[in-house]
Subunit: 133 residues, 4 copies
């Protein structure tokens, strides 16, 4: 299985950081491997502390379930078909900002972005993921 290398993780952090700065956001960025363990993390200057954990949980959610956090969240909310799923695995995030990373031959893990708006977090995470493909 292709592994997520430190340099690739760093590249994801850099792409997200640059884009966030251009948009005037200060975000937290987490990169995890396919098993959900942390590979790289960065808190931009001025980013809030609360989203530190959010960014990590977004990335973990995507990695552990093989799906972007927003897709999982559609069902994991009151009235959804998988409501209560969000309480498993130490807490999952069911809104945008957790996006799978794909390598040339398969899944590499996931990136989580938190601290801007949900939409901006999601777009920044997608930008980061695109840097590897």
């Amino acid at each position: 299985m292709e592994e997520l290398m430190m340099e690739s993780a760093q590249q994801v952090l850099d792409v997200v950081t640059t884009a966030a700065r251009e948009q005037g956001f200060a975000v937290n960025i987490a990169v995890v491997d396919p098993s959900g363990h942390l590979v790289a993390f960065r808190r931009m200057d001025g980013a809030l502390i609360g989203p530190v954990d959010v960014s990590i949980k977004k990335a973990r959610t995507a990695a552990l379930f093989g799906t972007d956090s927003a897709a999982l969240g559609e069902g994991a909310r009151p009235g959804g078909a998988i409501y209560t799923l969000e309480h498993t695995n130490g807490g999952l995030i069911g809104f945008g900002g957790g996006v799978l990373l794909h390598g040339a031959t398969g899944p590499l893990g996931a990136v989580g972005v938190a601290g801007a708006t949900v939409q901006a977090d999601e777009e920044l995470a997608r930008l980061g993921a695109a840097a590897l493909s």
Copy 2:
């Protein structure tokens, strides 16, 4: 009290594994005793990691409340009569896939299946439970 024997638990795993494979699913399967403690577990090749915890929590939910997880979930959601119950016992699951195991003389525990669709998880868990009765 009739006890859930290792061999019976193994039989439940095997029945679910065979059926899941025929349907093209790779699932996690957990069997717990009436007190909710793990008796047997299997992650099929290719199954996601996130549903490991989900399958165990589904089985625990059924065993601890003496009811299938889907039945409990009908009330344990916002607007339901027992909303907030899902936050007890380290986290309960309120959708399909956690099914009680019955022996000749009484409850034997429960099986939890996670990793396919909610409906398939539920049907697979029922198949597993049927193997013992």
Copy 3:
């Protein structure tokens, strides 16, 4: 990276179960992947409940630190050079019974055995690991 297949994990459980039975022990056996996530678990008839968690933590300890639990435990005790390490990663086990699994090309994860004596747990885990090499 070589992956731990369900069949191999099952083989480890079977070898440990047979040996434990011959020795008159009822143990809990856990097999985890290299990232510490559960792949297979079995509680033998008559095994205590407390060692369920112990067997899982033994296997996790070995997998996450790439060393058998007994080796890690020599330092992670009062007076040892890495005392307090045992409180990380949700709780580690520093005595025998957690043993690495090796495949033809690299690490496959780990097996944890708990419920007999420490020495017997360790020997049983080694027997299980030997089944794969």
Copy 4:
């Protein structure tokens, strides 16, 4: 209060990474702010997963008590004057590898290194801290 900037944290990671590579070690490196919250993290290629949490706890220990983890560990062990302290704050580390970061005008946080030997972790963390002063 002088703040730990992202660029400085990155610099600490880079200095430790380069030195660890020269010494043939693959380590996990965590940088936290004075309140113990994560600012930056990096897992080097080939580093073990277990030390991810250890590196973060080392940095937190140093930051939260304003002292290097090794110094705190001298007292926080059975027989030591502050034995049991290591069980607070979600788990502290009482051996080398967690080192305070000092800026021109005061404390900036701490760096934690884990995955080599205890002595090498400590020296690497000191190197990282020296990069800022």
